[in-house]
């Protein structure tokens, strides 16, 4: 789900070879080359907001300025980092790529690299995220049209490895601790900002790479990001929390309330049923339709999109939305959300679900959906 994008990514993003050794990245690259047999190399763009593909292949999170990875089918990759040569020492610990260079003269650099690595056959990844001006520079520099293979790479990213799943489980534990801290803070009488920040601090101190939050000041009818201090207490307090750990996102929605919240409980029941339908090969649109058929008024936040795959990006394809023909993939991890909203109240609850070849595993869920 979308939350406010920060101007700079702050938090631990160093490459941890014990958790993600070189073989993991080699396996990823090999799978990509198998799926793209004619590609002689890949030019991968990433920036602060959109860098899941870059991180998947290099572990690099561009905290400040954009970066480009030039990955040949044979040979060593280069990572071009924005901000000048002085930024390279700070970037070095964030990636397994050893050849780091400043990102400058992009068009000329990329064209020369493409010539040196098989002429016209490299592929682009992440070109949709490039700023307009940079994209124009690419188009001018690369004489032939280069195919964008972002969708193909994302399909590979959808099936999580054992290492990725382990990290996602840890991220879910951090998410749970953050929401528990918020619940305790609210129960102790803290205002809205203090409640939210209590959870953020717990996540930070537990080693989260990033945490993003939304909350409601109107009983769950709308969600908003932090804009300014809110000292008053709110009950029920609807919260959205996204926690990132070692690159991997998890997210959850919870209703913090002093007394049982009937709307949240109804939403929890619908979510539980929806989770049971999160099986390999199920159509995403069917899962969304199942939620809509609950004969309850859907919340505006979840009415159109009830979930998505999640991992190195907060929102990865496919979307769990009406009409979506894509299927739930075994090995995928999904965030599934159910929101209800009517004159009796508003609530959104959610679950993180790892889908297996047979069955699924709930990595985290709002308590209202727990059995």
């Amino acid at each position: 789900m979308l939350a406010m994008n920060p101007t700079l990514l702050i938090g631990p993003a160093d490459w941890d070879p014990a958790r993600f050794p070189r073989e993991e990245f080699a396996t990823r690259a090999a799978a990509f080359w198998r799926a793209n047999p004619s590609a002689t190399g890949a030019i991968v763009y990433g920036d602060r907001v959109n860098h899941a593909e870059l991180a998947y292949l290099t572990n690099f999170t561009p905290k400040l300025e954009a970066a480009l990875a030039l990955i040949p089918r044979q040979g060593s990759p280069q990572l071009l980092v924005g901000g000048g040569a002085n930024m390279l020492p700070a970037a070095k610990p964030l990636t397994l790529v050893e050849d780091l260079r400043p990102l400058r003269h992009v068009g000329k650099t990329v064209a020369q690299w493409a010539r040196e690595h098989g002429g016209d056959a490299p592929v682009l990844i992440g070109s949709a995220f490039m700023p307009y001006a940079l994209h124009q520079e690419f188009a001018a520099a690369l004489a032939s049209k280069i195919g964008d293979k972002t969708a193909e790479l994302r399909r590979l990213m959808g099936r999580k490895s054992a290492r990725e799943l382990a990290v996602l489980r840890e991220a879910c534990a951090t998410l749970d601790a953050a929401i528990a801290a918020m619940r305790a803070s609210q129960a102790a009488g803290a205002g809205v900002t203090a409640t939210i920040l209590a959870g953020e601090q717990v996540a930070n101190r537990a080693g989260a790479q990033d945490i993003r939050t939304l909350f409601s000041l109107d009983g769950g009818r709308t969600l908003r990001p932090f804009e300014t201090l809110v000292e008053r207490t709110v009950d029920p307090l609807q919260v959205y929390v996204a926690v990132r750990r070692l690159g991997y996102w998890t997210e959850g929605l919870a209703v913090l309330a002093a007394s049982p919240h009937p709307c949240a409980q109804r939403a929890g029941t619908v979510l539980r049923e929806a989770v049971s339908r999160m099986q390999a090969d199920a159509r995403c649109g069917e899962i969304a339709r199942g939620i809509a058929q609950a004969d309850l008024a859907l919340h505006p936040v979840t009415a159109r999109i009830a979930g998505n795959a999640i991992g190195l990006a907060l929102e990865e394809p496919p979307l769990i939305a009406a009409g979506c023909e894509e299927r739930i993939e075994p090995g995928g991890v999904y965030s599934l959300r159910v929101g209800l909203s009517d004159e009796r109240g508003h609530a959104i609850v959610s679950a993180m679900v790892a889908v297996r070849d047979r069955g699924n595993e709930v990595l985290w869920s709002s308590p209202e959906a727990a059995r």
Partner: protein, 371 residues
Amino acid sequence: MTFDQRLAAIRAGMIEHELDAIVAIHDGAHFIETPNPVLVLSGFKSLGPAAVVLPRDGEASLIVTPAWDADRAAECCPTLRVIAADDVANALTSARDHGSLRGARIGIAGLAFTRWDIAGRLDQVLLPAGSADGIVFDAAAAKTVEEVAHAREATRIAELGYARLVEIARPGMSEDALALELKWYTKTLGAEDNFLLLCAGPRNAAVAPSNGRTMQRGDILVAEITPSYRGQLAQICRTATLGPASADLKHKYDLLVRAMNAGIGAAHPGAPMAAVCRAINTVLEAEGYGEYCHPPHIRRRGHGLGFGSIRPGDVSLDNDTVLTEGMVFMIHPNQHLPETGYLLCGEPVLLTAHGAEPLTQRRSALVEIGL
């Protein structure tokens, strides 16, 4: 300047350039180095891609994604017609076909910074007559009364953040942990974002995003603390040592303070921005550091402060922008010196009739953190 005066100036620019409407576009990737025309025209900091349609006469519209964020937008912008949308480019296409943009001669602001999957479509759909960046951002070069108040509050938060840094920074702590704690702390004071560059070492090549490096006794810690308060950034540039500083470091830092004060003294209405840079360089050149006053050692001596307009631009020798009252910008000599490495020293200033008023309560001075 008031917001209405700014709007009048923009509309006068539209008449001069024979535009019927301006479309301001932003993709939701907030960044200190890129201006946000949607924020300039609406005051709204969006979660996702957003646009403002400003006709030469008549009511302006704010197109907001995700659609569920429209209530917050309406609350923020009571004088604008808020349109909830799932896709900003589709909403603008609809406005061109059936709404306020039909047959209009359109100028577009923000296109160059917008990601390609949106910008490329808009370029084709709107067929803009040209860029309206100059019209929008020049009119916002001087901050409104409200933005100045927000810059003052952001500065207050930055100074408190620095005091916190001095209180908690210790050997054995990682740069990432310190940066996360400071970001969290400034949020408790009301900052909704923070461009917080922070790093440490015996000799820094530059200021860079924090990473996992563990700080050591004797490190020089450099920090650009840049909170945003209600969408307005302010920055302080500071240097501290973990333990006692050498006499040489103290001497060199005093030189930077003198250079900064010379720059502040040179900033007054009617002066070109280049004169501020020149005044700083003159102090350093007199001490034999002339070669360090140019790239690759230094690119600029300050910059504008967004997130809206980043005019008056960089404090650099090639910026001939004439300074006017109401401008808010950074003056920071931030300098690599061969004896010390990179040092940070800088203040945010408001240009008044009497010259540059630092917004800080305490100007930069080298701090020795007692261990």
